[in-house]
Each structure stands twice: as structure tokens, then as C-alpha cells.
């Protein structure tokens, strides 16, 4: 669906079903250089199984207008504005990588709106090699290639796909080269408040971490889980791009965790 946020057109995927604010809402927040399409294999299930889904493209990404936001703090505040624009008061926030840092900022700014937090392939800090940012500024294609070689685990590198006939690396690459990757990476690199914000929150949290994650290593993810007293699911044999690489297992973790919170209330 399309809506106006701060005077600019914003697109949010709704999982193939019309958004209904009366249902429990799951907010999917994409990672660096990605957009709503990285959640294609999670959003439809939620939309067709009792939830409403919002998977927005951040400004300047995919189908959303505007300039890309240059800090995680700004992206977190934008999510607050986005939820206000969508007239949503309560969400289960799901973030991949950088998207989870944005979720932390959302929760910091509007704790009352966040029923739960789910982080996928993430950590409290996501340092980015300055050379990668420089490369991204010169060529998003080259930077995407570097990231995807690191980001996808061994199975995806061998052409294994959760969706028969598809090539996740090519799909990820096409998405990345069309988005402002350099700005996102710079925002990640500059963000230093992750641990402090994580410590300050008292929201049910789970982290779904990848055994072969070379971008947000498992150790860093587990450290944040300890800080947040979060439930942890480790998916072995996959890399950083879990929502695309291991969509079914990601979905299962999200279903179980979000479902348990909904049913406990």
C-alpha cells in the first residue's frame, strides 16, 4: 500500500492482503541496501494467518520516494512517523541486520507501540569496513558483489534455493544495486548506541542468528541476546541473508515467537 509519511510517498508491502489495523500487526524492517522484497517469504504467511503486515521501503529505497535517511536514529524516528501515518498503535517489530538497529531506535522512541522485537542476522553494532563504503559510493554493483559474497552462506553460494528454480544471490544483487547501499552502510558504521539502547529496553525479544554469519558474527549476536535477555535461535549452515537463504526456518521462528506473545495476552 502507499501512504504519505512526512509529505513523501511511501510504499509498504502488506503480504498480498489489504492492511487491516484491527489485526495484530507485524512490522518488517529491511536491512542495508534491501527493501520489502527481502521479506517476500515471510510476509504472505503472516498476512494470510491472522495478522496484518507492514513491510515498508525506507525513503529512497525501491518504491518509496525521498532521500535515504543517513542515520539509524533518523530511520528509527521515521518508523515512528510511519506507524503514525498508518494509524498503527502496536506492532511486533522484525528487523534484519540494520533493520533491527532501526527497530531498537523505534522501541526507544515509542516503547508503547512495540509488543515484541525480533532480530534476524544482527548484532548491537554492525561495523562496516570503510573500504566497503568507499566502494559502495563509487559502484553499488561492486559493493553488492562484495557484500553478497560475504553475506550469503555456503549453500546459497552453491546455488541452493528455498524456492525451486530461483537464484537468491541474483535476486539479492538486483535488489541491492537498485537501492542506496552506501548511505545505509554509512548509517550502520556510524551507529554506536546499539548496546545502550538494547540494555534500556524491556520488551520481549528473540534473535534468529546464523551459524555462518560473517557480517554480524554469531558471537556478537549472542552477546546482544544476553544483554536483552532474548530468546535465541541459531540456524546453522546459513549466512547473514537468513530471510532469503533460510526463509522457512526464519518464518517458523517468527511464527512461534510472535504467536506465543499474542496467545499469552
Amino acid at each position: 500500500m502507499e501512504l504519505q509519511v512526512n509529505g513523501r510517498k511511501v510504499y509498504a508491502a502488506t503480504g498480498g492482503k489489504e492492511f487491516d489495523a484491527k489485526l495484530p500487526t507485524v512490522l518488517f524492517i529491511h536491512g542495508s541496501g534491501l527493501d520489502h522484497r527481502s521479506w517476500a517469504l515471510q510476509t504472505r504467511w503472516f498476512a494470510y494467518n491472522g495478522y496484518s503486515v507492514l513491510a515498508p521501503d525506507f525513503p529512497g529505497h525501491s518504491l518509496s520516494e525521498g532521500d535515504a535517511l543517513t542515520s539509524i536514529e533518523a530511520q528509527g524516528q521515521w518508523l515512528v512517523d510511519f506507524l503514525d501515518a498508518a494509524n498503527v498503535n502496536r506492532v511486533h517489530a522484525v528487523g534484519h541486520s540494520q533493520g533491527f538497529l532501526c527497530a531498537l531506535e523505534l522501541a526507544k522512541n515509542a516503547a508503547g507501540k512495540v509488543a515484541s522485537l525480533s532480530g534476524i542476522g544482527t548484532a548491537a553494532a554492525i561495523p562496516v569496513n570503510p573500504a566497503l563504503i568507499e566502494t559502495a559510493l563509487e559502484s553499488s554493483s561492486k559493493a553488492a558483489d562484495l557484500m553478497l559474497q560475504w553475506g550469503f552462506g555456503q549453500n546459497a553460494q552453491m546455488g541452493i534455493s528455498a524456492v525451486p528454480g530461483m537464484q537468491p544471490i541474483a535476486i539479492g544483487r538486483q535488489i541491492m544495486v537498485s537501492n542506496p547501499l552506501a548511505v545505509d552502510l554509512q548509517a550502520c558504521a556510524n551507529y554506536e548506541s546499539g548496546e545502550t539502547v538494547a540494555e534500556s529496553l524491556n520488551i520481549p525479544t528473540q534473535l534468529v542468528l546464523a551459524g555462518q554469519d560473517r557480517m554480524t558474527p554469531l558471537k556478537a549476536g549472542k552477546a546482544m541476546a544476553k544483554t536483552m535477555n532474548a530468546e535465541v535461535t541459531v540456524i546453522d549452515n546459513y549466512g547473514h541473508m537468513l530471510p532469503i537463504e533460510a526463509p522457512k526456518r526464519c518464518l517458523q521462528s517468527l511464527r512461534d515467537f510472535i504467536g506465543s506473545i499474542e496467545h499469552s495476552e
Binding site: 534455493s161 525451486p164 528454480g165 538486483q174
Partner: protein, 435 residues
């Protein structure tokens, strides 16, 4: 450029799409000879049917063995996904009907395979889809042929049998100005020699029956989605951008982006038309694809030798190969086919049509048959066979003459191929002498 893998092509051809399965550790890709797949639960079945997750439902739609081949070819071509079909022709038909509806229009190269020409000129016309044929490298003609309802530009990377190289970068430049995709039948080249997506093409079609299989034992086809085109930009493709009723109003472009076309083909055409590649044929094609680049190197080397040798034979009246300077598109070969422009060649022999027939009948090693791309050398007289349904005018437009002999140069020892052809030349000479 849509890279699908960071492995090198020779490694992709052997490994991509499969790692040894956990139950038995089978090193080779197993043949999943099954029609259907047990669902974990009713809700699991429901979510598969509603495209909420990937997986297998029924082998008309997907099959694990076929999927390995699809993913391997997608990786070799640099595409976002691939759909295998029962034949190269069904791959073309599926592509056409996925993107075109009644009232739509296609611009096609005039120099294409005879059955494809028939499909475009007659069969899909009955469905209300019109086609204009143009000299594909004539930019003015191409521009003038594109209409408001045009949905694609179609060509073969190397035309059959005229062997004209399509100027893919320029064709793509023109087509993309109008927001329409370029569909390339790249059968004659295979991804070992040319990857059209890297040159701007959007959709690649192969008859995998030919060089990709190489053994001549299994018929099959494939469609590769390049994943690069913005299907919404031109407003010409409501099939992909507007709600699709059979799947609760799914919008393929919004939901799947770079794999929108492949997902649509899977969801619609494989379901409704069902031109499915059998798992056993997929397994056979996989055996061939493992050695694709090695075979193509030898095909090209033998073709180069034959071109040179044929030009020196007094019974040969003319020779055509895409890399020959006499070919109007030869300048494109180093750009698009740096490893060689395939192993198809054509020539004429003394004695005209009868001489050509005598040549073919005298051969003992090369096979006279309606196929190309076997590891074995194959010959054919197109005017009597594959292109016999064309009018004389269409034959000329397709680059065919009555005396043309089409050769798919195999990977036998070159000396044996030459010796066999010498038998044919003697027979043709006798006919010419009688004339």
C-alpha cells in the same frame, strides 16, 4: 549484469543447485521420479498453494531434480531464476503467452528457426497475438516496428540457419527505450560462449536438447529470467504489475521484484499449460551440462577448422559462419562471442539442390537429421525440412537458399569429419558433372 553466483562457470556447471543430500550423501543429483510431495500438515499445504513459502507441490509445477537444472542454468546465464519446460518450443510458447494477451504484438527477427517462425506467424496469431518480422540488426526497421501494444523484441543470438549474430546490446537499447524486454533464444551459443543478459537481454530461452545436453537423448527447454527489467516502468505489463486473481490478487512485480516473471511463469503457465520437463530428462541434461564448456571448446575448434577447410574445397560454392568476414554481422562476434561464435555453419555445394542431396546421402559419419548440437556431427537440408513450410520470400528473409547444407559440427576427430565430407563432395561432383 545480474550475477547469480561467484563460482566460475566450469564450477557452476558441475555443482550449482545441488549439495549432497543428507539422507544418503548421493554425490550425483538424484532423480526424484515422483509426481507429488507429502505435505507436513494441512496448513503447510495451504501456505505452499498460496505462495507463502517455497517448496514442491506437484511435479507439473516443480520437481527437485528439475529445480537443480533450473538453478544451474540460471547461475550459468546470470539470471534470477529459470523454469525448465518440455522442449525449447514450449519454452518459447510459455514465454510468449506469459507476456502477451490477445491484442498484443511481438517484434521478431526475420531470421529465426522455422518452427518458431510458424509459432509466431500462425499459431499465436489464432490467439490474437500479432507478430512483425524485421531484419533484427536494422535499427530503423526495429524502431518502426515497435507499436504501443508491443510486448517484446525476440531474436536468436545466432540466427538459424542464416547464422546472423543479433546485435543484442543495440537491440536492448532500443527495446528498453520503449520499456519492453528483449527475449533471446540462445540455443546456438549456450552460456559457455555468450551470456546475453550481460549484454542487455532480459529473458533467455534455450532448447536444452541441443548443446547444453549434448548427447541427443533428451528433449527439453528452459526460460531464464534476467531479473533486470522494471516491469512497471512502461505500464505495458499488467500481467505482472496488477493483481492476479487466481492467487488472491498477488502482484508479482511488487512482491517478487527480480524474480517476478519466473514466479508468474511458474504460477500460471506451468499450472495451466503444464509443459513440464520430466525429472529423468532433467537428470540426463544435467549429465551433459557438466561438460558443457569442454565440449563447446572442441565444437568451436572443429568448426573453425572446417570453415577454413571448406573454403579451400573446389566443390564448395560458398561457406557461412558467423565469424567469417563475409558475414554481415561478423564484427559482433569478438564482442558477443569471444570464445567463438558456435559450431553451426552452412555451405553450398556444386550441383545445387540435387548436389546438396547427393552430398548428404553419401555421408557415413555425419548424421542427416533434424537436430543440432549433438556431440556428433549433424547435417540437414533446411529447404526440404525445418524451413520447408516457409514461403520463398520468407526463406530468403531467413537467410536460406535451396542449395544450403546446414552443419552442426561435432567433436569427433576433425580428420574423420573431413574424410566423411570428402565422400559427400565426390557424390555432389558427380551430380554437377551430369548437369
Amino acid at each position: 549484469m545480474a550475477k547469480s553466483s561467484y563460482l566460475k562457470p566450469d564450477t557452476i556447471a558441475l555443482h550449482s543447485g545441488y549439495v549432497p543430500e543428507s539422507d544418503h550423501g548421493s554425490r550425483a543429483v538424484p532423480v526424484y521420479q515422483t509426481t507429488s510431495y507429502v505435505f507436513e500438515s494441512v496448513s503447510d499445504a495451504s501456505s505452499l498453494f498460496n505462495v507463502e513459502q517455497g517448496g514442491h507441490i506437484y511435479s507439473r509445477i516443480t520437481n527437485p531434480t528439475v529445480a537443480v537444472l533450473e538453478q544451474r542454468i540460471a547461475a550459468l546465464e546470470g539470471g534470477s531464476g529459470a523454469i525448465c519446460t518440455a522442449s525449447g518450443m514450449s519454452a518459447l510458447f510459455t514465454t510468449f503467452i506469459t507476456l502477451c494477451s490477445a491484442g498484443d504484438h511481438i517484434v521478431s527477427s526475420a531470421q529465426i528457426y522455422g518452427s518458431t517462425a510458424t509459432l509466431l506467424k500462425h499459431t499465436i496469431k489464432r490467439l490474437g497475438i500479432e507478430c512483425s518480422f524485421v531484419p533484427i540488426n536494422d535499427e530503423k526497421a526495429l524502431r518502426e516496428a515497435i507499436q504501443d501494444n508491443t510486448k517484446m523484441v525476440f531474436c536468436e543470438s545466432i540466427g538459424n540457419p542464416g547464422l546472423e549474430i543479433a546485435d543484442i546490446p543495440n537491440i536492448a537499447k532500443v527495446a528498453h527505450e520503449f520499456g519492453i524486454p528483449v527475449v533471446v533464444d540462445a540455443t546456438f551459443a549456450t552460456p559457455a560462449l555468450c551470456r546475453p543478459i550481460e549484454h542487455g537481454a532480459d529473458i533467455i530461452v534455450h532448447s536444452v536438447t541441443k548443446w547444453i545436453g549434448g548427447h541427443g537423448v533428451a528433449v527439453g527447454g528452459v526460460i531464464v529470467d534476467g531479473g533486470q527489467l522494471d516491469w512497471s516502468a512502461s505500464g505495458r505489463f499488467p500481467e505482472l504489475t496488477e493483481p492476479y486473481a487466481p492467487f488472491h490478487g498477488i502482484k508479482f512485480w511488487e512482491e517478487f521484484g527480480p524474480s517476478a516473471l519466473a514466479m508468474k511463469i511458474r504460477a500460471e503457465s506451468m499450472r495451466d499449460v503444464g509443459a513440464t520437463l520430466s525429472p529423468h530428462n532433467a537428470f540426463l541434461i544435467l549429465q551433459g551440462i557438466e561438460t558443457l564448456s569442454l565440449r563447446m571448446k572442441q565444437h568451436v575448434a572443429n568448426a573453425h577448422t572446417m570453415v577454413e577447410w571448406l573454403q579451400a574445397q573446389e566443390e564448395v560454392t560458398w561457406v557461412n559462419h558467423p565469424e567469417m568476414e563475409s558475414s554481415p554481422s561478423h564484427h559482433l562476434a569478438p564482442v558477443l562471442f569471444p570464445e567463438g561464435a558456435g559450431s553451426m555453419l552452412c555451405f553450398g555445394v556444386v550441383g545445387g539442390r540435387a548436389g546438396g542431396a547427393a552430398f548428404i546421402n553419401a555421408l557415413q559419419l555425419a548424421s542427416n537429421l533434424a537436430n543440432v548440437g549433438d556431440s556428433r556431427t549433424l547435417v540437414l537440408h533446411p529447404g526440404s525440412t525445418t524451413h520447408s513450410r516457409l514461403t520463398p520470400e520468407d526463406m530468403i528473409a531467413a537467410g536460406i537458399s535451396e542449395d544450403m547444407i546446414r552443419v552442426s559440427v561435432g567433436i569427433e576427430d576433425i580428420k574423420d569429419i573431413k574424410a566423411d565430407f570428402q565422400r559427400g563432395f565426390k557424390a555432389a561432383s558427380r551430380i554437377a558433372g551430369e548437369g
